[in-house]
């Protein structure tokens, strides 16, 4: 789906690649008033060489009002030309809400999947934005094909970790029959398992069986998640097979009263009467049904429904059932329609199986006599089973177990076409049943008196594929032959027996004798009557499909009873891709599938004991570790369960956004350029990822195509309510236990509440969530607080991002409106102080909760002491004229001057050497043969090192000379507002770059609050100490009132280090940030604080 065209960044810039160059270009453009989309294909913009300045840069970008950062995104289509690029942006989901993630890492610990190759978990954090991301390409093929909707890879991953309880919980969350499916499931998941590309699929069914066995042995019994308050409505389910019970299970969990009516004397439907015990021990069924009964579901056995049964459908409605679900299965075998089929000795597979299976358990002897009747010659009975499905296999193996020696299977196609599960066919042959392939019955031999004596067959060959895609068998003329037999078993499929409905039941039946249901609601033509399972579908169902269908039907029954529209029940239609990633070489190394232990052949043939014994824990873990983690996220939901802020969102989908851009700057890995189909030049510029200088130069070329009207506003002075009597509020963040586990936050609040002027204290589970900021605002207003301390992980309330800042701190500050032009900011009404009690208490004193708590309280008290003498200046930015001087004979000078023009900066070029350069009245002032030239900023563009040296000397003593900054690309110097063009570099590039940086600087000084130190003239002795200590040249002596000489600090270039304040003998200077008095007050509190 395509999102509407973005208004943000219209005629803005599109920057591709979160490289140093990309970041530089983004910041340059954003600062000069362009709106920027910065696009990074990976989920994180990573620190190069882990330099902390880079981190600062990333956060600067994150906070910049003119920059929209896209991670996990890349253009899927780019059209148009310079000034009008249309971009379709493909946004791959992060599966994390960046406004909520606190990066606590609980999810990483919980995640069972470690990514092959990278070694990090499927949920991870590696750069900025400093919030988690989930590596999820789509649905794993296994989970994708599971009709029961089990997070298959999820529980496999848990088994691989030995976290069996979590594994079984994942299965139970989806289906009520782990034990049953663990034994008889036809496991479409394994058929789609990608491991098969390497060797054999992961033994998923056996792993499921393992966890269910483990649960029985060691697990906590499945929590019957019955809702506390029951809903009034009741639902009747007809048929206690897997489908019906899946419906019952779901509805019971939703709180409905459910009654199941079963015609047979046993529970389990076809699972009980169709599947022999050696494959599915009855106690497994009993056990898993018991869980459902524990939910309050009632089952009435031997209770048939319909006109001739105990209750008619009308009766059920009359009895107060709001809905009825028919899950009657398909118990009527299809007939061959060949001659002699009516002879005694011809039996339907399901009938025979039912007799055999029931004779094993119900006390009613009639079933045993039935079996004896079928086996006329006892163990010597010669049997042929017709069919190639699982029923045929079950019948033959069951017969062996009741002692019959001569059992053969006749199938008209070859082994490859056999619908039965391969392992079943294996076992059949292993147990000694003979299979005649490409043989088809022609007629049954015998007579009414003696019944069956034999079977005439014909040999077949394979012809063209038929509708089912299997090759159609064609008879070979004249190949007829006969076999002597006593019993012919027809196992060629079943149909539902709907006769029970009688006439005028109001339920539409399809031509194929299935109940007609609406898709996808499963409601029949009769309102309130639903149907699932074999009764509605003509292709033979297996247990897991019945369960899946039951779950859906339950959902629509729920909707029906709430009289919600049934269409609404449709599961999210947006198709999720099936994950398919490149396998690493290591993953391609084959690992044998763990074979499952079985009982001995004698035991097998002499009893109905379960054949498979199941995996041991060791085998299971080893087998699970074969999983290739296709997701790679397994959707096990472990992260969802541990995340305290609910930041994990698994159902996010790929998004497409339409953007417009004036210019495109490409700064990503070179190989990513050509696929975009862009041509360089004219609004599209290519950078090498690390070349920040060229980035700024490119910006100079790009701006003619972008709208630069979004210049950050000048900050007017903020008036703080510092003169009012203090009304103090204190908020203590628990960081979801990260702090609370060590620091006793309630105790901290208690102690703070007793401090003077404190009118409100409150703990917060989290402080960096937007809604919490809202709460704080309300509290501040309602309690009319005029001083506030937040003890959390954030550490300063400055309009500043420093090397130690984190995405969460930034977010917290943004939520509270502490940055730049935000008017709604809390700090705009009440001065605010942060204290970091996480990194500075909880996380470093875990062994000493008492002292950590004490320290936290002390730090808060200290912050309070600081707040009490908070001065009122905040958020004032300085204003400067857009003027610049370009000095030097370098080639870059002319380039620079011309580019400055593009930025509407009035630039003047001076070629001759200056005698002196000095700040005068907040401007760089050049003195040259009697004349003075002034401008807000300047660029030095020497033609060689000699001229460079002379230019620098003009600034006076060495410390004041604008040498290139120790960190950076040489274009910015140690003197704010002085930029440099290295004569050794390409003048086109460094000239343009310097101009761009200068333009940015001019905007920044007007849009960021100045942290300048301030001189109290009456206390100034003009001793020039400040002038001597400062190396950016901010302080200078001027002639003040009454023509008295005093020091004045230039707020435009003062960097706020506070050094001058520390050194002023008469204490005339107060630093831009924390003042001496505040430090003293804090010290006093901290050191007075008792233990």
């Amino acid at each position: 789906m395509i999102a509407p065209v973005e208004t943000f960044g219209k005629k803005g810039a599109l920057i591709l690649g979160g490289s140093p160059a990309g970041l530089q270009a983004a910041l340059d453009l954003a600062d000069i008033g362009a709106q920027v989309h910065l696009v990074e294909p990976s989920p994180f913009i990573r620190k190069v060489d882990g330099s902390h300045q880079f981190n600062t840069r990333l956060l600067e970008i994150a906070r910049h009002p003119n920059i929209r950062v896209w991670t996990n995104a890349w253009p899927s289509r780019v059209e148009g030309k310079a000034g009008h690029f249309q971009v379709e942006m493909r946004q791959h989901p992060r599966f994390i809400d960046p406004a909520k993630c606190t990066a606590c890492g609980a999810c990483i610990a919980a995640c069972p999947v470690t990514l092959p190759g990278t070694g990090h978990k499927a949920i991870f954090l590696d750069g900025q934005p400093g919030v988690m991301a989930i590596e999820k390409l789509g649905k794993p093929p296994c989970a994708n094909t599971c009709p029961g909707g089990i997070h298959v890879q999820g529980y496999i991953a848990m088994v691989a970790q030995g976290r069996f309880q979590e594994a079984i919980d994942i299965v139970r969350e989806a289906i009520p029959f782990p034990g049953i499916c663990g034994r008889v499931c036809t496991h479409p998941c394994e058929i789609n398992c990608r491991r098969a590309e390497v060797d054999q699929p992961v033994a998923i069914r056996l792993l499921k069986r393992f966890v269910s066995d483990w649960e029985l042995a060691n697990g906590t019994p499945p929590k019957s998640a019955r809702l506390v308050e029951h809903l009034p409505q009741k639902v009747a389910v007809v048929g206690a097979g897997p489908g019906g019970m899946a419906v019952a299970d779901r509805l019971a969990r939703l709180g409905y009263g459910v009654t199941v009516f079963e015609k047979l004397p046993v529970i389990g439907g076809m699972m009980a009467v169709g599947i022999p015990e050696y494959r599915l021990p009855r106690q497994v069924i009993t056990r898993e049904y018991q869980h459902i009964l524990d939910l309050g579901v009632k089952i009435h056995l031997n209770t048939s429904i319909g006109p001739d049964g105990k209750y008619s459908l009308d009766d059920l409605f009359a009895m107060g059932y709001g809905a009825i679900c028919l899950a009657v299965g398909a118990h009527r075998s299809l007939s061959l329609a060949i001659q002699g089929e009516e002879f005694q000795g011809v039996v339907h597979g399901t009938e025979l199986l039912k007799a055999i299976n029931l004779s094993q358990r119900v006390q009613d002897s009639s079933y045993r006599s039935q079996v004896e009747a079928f086996l006329r010659r006892g163990s010597k009975t010669r049997v042929a089973v017709l069919g190639g499905g699982n029923t045929a296999m079950d019948v033959s193996r069951a017969l062996l177990r009741v002692g019959v020696k001569d059992v053969r299977i006749l199938y008209r196609r070859t082994r490859n076409e056999m619908p039965a599960m391969p392992e079943e066919i294996e076992d059949v042959l292993l147990e000694g049943v003979k299979i005649d392939f490409l043989v088809s019955p022609v007629r049954v031999l015998g007579n009414d008196k003696r019944g069956v004596t034999g079977l005439e067959c014909i040999r077949m060959k394979l012809g063209e594929p038929d509708a089912s895609g299997r090759r159609r068998p064609v008879p070979i003329a004249g190949s007829e032959f006969a076999i002597n037999l006593d019993l012919v078993v027809l196992a060629i499929g079943q149909a539902p027996d709907l006769s029970f409905l009688g006439s005028d039941h109001g339920i539409a039946i399809r031509r194929d004798e299935r109940i007609n249901v609406a898709d996808p609601s499963f409601m029949t033509s009769r309102p309130g009557v639903f149907a699932v399972g074999d009764a509605v579908t003509s292709d033979k169902m297996v247990v897991i499909e019945a369960i899946g269908m039951g779950k859906q039907a339950a959902a629509s029954i729920d909707a029906y009873l709430r009289s919600h529209p049934l269409e609404a029940v449709v599961v999210d239609a947006r198709e999720v891709p099936i994950a398919r990633r490149e396998l690493t070489e290591a993953e391609k190394i084959p690992i044998q599938r763990a074979s499952v232990p079985v009982i001995s052949m004698e035991e097998r043939l002499s009893s109905f004991c379960e054949v498979e014994l199941g995996y041991t824990a060791e085998q299971a873990v080893a087998e699970a570790q074969r999983c290739l983690a296709c997701g790679p996220c397994s959707e096990c939901q472990a992260c969802v369960q541990v995340c305290k802020t609910g930041a994990v969102i698994h159902n996010q989908y790929v998004h497409f956004n339409e953007l417009e851009a004036g210019a495109i700057i490409f700064a990503a890995a070179p190989e990513q350029f050509s696929p975009l189909g862009l041509t360089e030049g004219n609004g599209c510029y290519r950078l090498s990822p690390d070349d920040t200088l060229s980035a700024s130069a490119a910006v100079a070329r790009a701006i003619k195509y972008v709208d630069t009207s979004h210049i950050p506003a000048f900050l007017s002075p903020q008036t703080l309510r510092v003169d009012e009597a203090p009304r103090i509020g204190i908020f203590v963040c628990q960081c979801g236990g990260e702090i609370g586990a060590v620091v006793d936050t309630d105790e901290v609040c208690k102690r703070c509440a007793s401090l003077p002027d404190v009118v409100h204290t409150q703990t917060l589970a989290f402080s960096c969530l937007p809604e919490v900021a809202g709460i704080m605002r309300v509290v501040i207003q309602t309690h009319n607080l005029n001083r506030v301390v937040l003890a959390a992980c954030a550490c300063c309330t400055e309009d500043l991002v420093c090397d130690s800042c984190t995405y969460q701190r930034l977010r917290c500050k943004q939520n509270l409106g502490l940055f730049g032009n935000t008017t709604a900011g809390v700090a705009r009404t009440a001065p605010l102080e942060f204290v970091n009690i996480r990194e500075q208490c909880a996380w470093v004193h875990p062994a000493n909760p008492k002292l950590a708590t004490n320290k936290a309280a002390l730090m808060i008290e200290a912050a309070l002491a600081k707040l009490r003498i908070q001065n009122a200046r905040l958020g004032i930015s300085t204003q400067v004229d857009p003027t610049a001087l370009v000095l030097g004979k370098g080639e870059a000078a002319s380039v620079c001057k011309q580019v400055l023009g593009k930025y509407d900066i009035n630039a003047q070029r001076l070629q001759g050497l200056p005698r002196e350069v000095r700040r005068v009245d907040g401007q760089y002032t050049v003195f040259r043969n009697g004349k003075t030239f002034q401008a807000s900023a300047m660029v030095l563009s020497p033609c060689d090192d000699h001229e460079a040296a002379l230019l620098l000397e003009a600034f006076g003593r060495p410390e004041l000379q604008p040498r290139p900054q120790s960190a950076g690309d040489g274009s910015e110097t140690r003197r704010p507002g002085v930029f440099f063009c290295d004569p050794a570099l390409d003048p086109q590039i460094c000239g343009a770059a310097a101009a761009t940086r200068l333009a940015d600087w001019l905007v920044r000084v007007t849009s960021h609050p100045s942290k300048t130190a301030i001189v109290d003239p009456t206390r100034c002795r003009a001793c020039s100490t400040c002038v001597k200590v400062c190396e950016v040249g901010a302080p200078g002596l001027i002639v003040g009132d009454q023509r008295r000489i005093r020091s004045w600090i230039d707020p435009i270039i003062c960097t706020g280090c506070g050094t001058c304040a520390a050194r002023c003998p008469s204490g005339a200077i107060s630093a831009g940030t924390v003042s001496n008095e505040q430090l003293e007050a804090m010290l006093g509190v901290i050191l007075a604080g008792g233990g």
Partner: protein, 398 residues
Amino acid sequence: MNILQDLIKENRVWYCLDCGKCSSICPITRWETRQHTGPRLLVEKSIQGRGDDLMDDPLFWACLTCKRCTEICPSGVNFSEFVRGARNLARSFNRTGDCTHSEMIQTWGRMMTNPDMRQSRLTWVREDMKFSEDSDTIYFVGCIPYFDPLFAKIGMEGVKIAQAAVRVMNHLGIKPQVLADERCCGHDQLWEGDVETFQALARINIERFKATNAKRIVTTCSECVRTLKLDYPQYVGGHGMEVLHLSELLAQHGLSISEPSDDLPTTRVTYQDPCRLGRHLGIYDAPRQVIEGIGLELVEMERNRASSQCCGTSCWRACGQVSKGIQVERLQEAKATGAETLVTTCLKCQIHLKCAQNDPILGEKIAIEIRDLTTLVAERLTALSTKEFHEEVAIGDR
């Protein structure tokens, strides 16, 4: 406010005639431009019981307590003492003046009230200096060692003064004793109204004095002299010892250098009377005798002796444009005498005036060498005495 009333009585504030002479000569009043003020006005405010007004007045904390006003007051109002008392009163309302030097001087003063502290304040002592445990003379060094780290950078003589003092006393045949755990005399604390700290310091010092069998205390600091001599007895109790400024001692010994040497040509100097030594204690002649005694030519500044001008700052508080103005004026006055050197007998005078000279713009206009009398004396003696003494001093001066 009874207590203010008491102060008014004690200091004859009632007797103010509103003549305004005080305001006309008050150095602060002349330079304070922020608002109209003056001693007379403060007196008026206090008599009217406007305590807050009084304490908000810039002069209240800036007053140098130089006694110039008292000097010329026809009704003998003790303005300085009145201010001192009122400042103590102000403290009880948590009011203090602006601090200088990030309050470190007041801070170490308070720290010294801890009786258990073990200072290492004698690092300036040199091999050649002769001391005696049972000397009858204590050389009270005062804050000199503490000022060194702060003010060496502005060329203050600091411990050189102490070293010189001991050598000079040795020259007179006196082997003084110095106290390793001496405390700040408490002068500044007393005058800024922190009587509590002052008393604590005084008690410790008196205790130390009494532990010796000394008869007299000699100091090189005018503030110490006044404090030990007058204020200890008044506020804490007598110590029964004679207190002398070194210049008095030298004058007593009639130190004089008969034949001026060639390598030390007679220099022309002028003398800055420290308020404490001068107006507070009336000691004007002794220093002048010594100056002439060591063969220097003394030229007086326009305002000297009782009408001398204060160095412009007191108690390390309320320093700024006003102080600077006073100091610049005084330095120009000194320069006007044509003297090459400005001599003082108070370390504070030297510090404040040298600090004022740190002005790159005025530069030459106020440039004049500033020396403490003690080091000058030592220097002259050195020139006359034997070679090895010469070297020792050289060592002494590092």
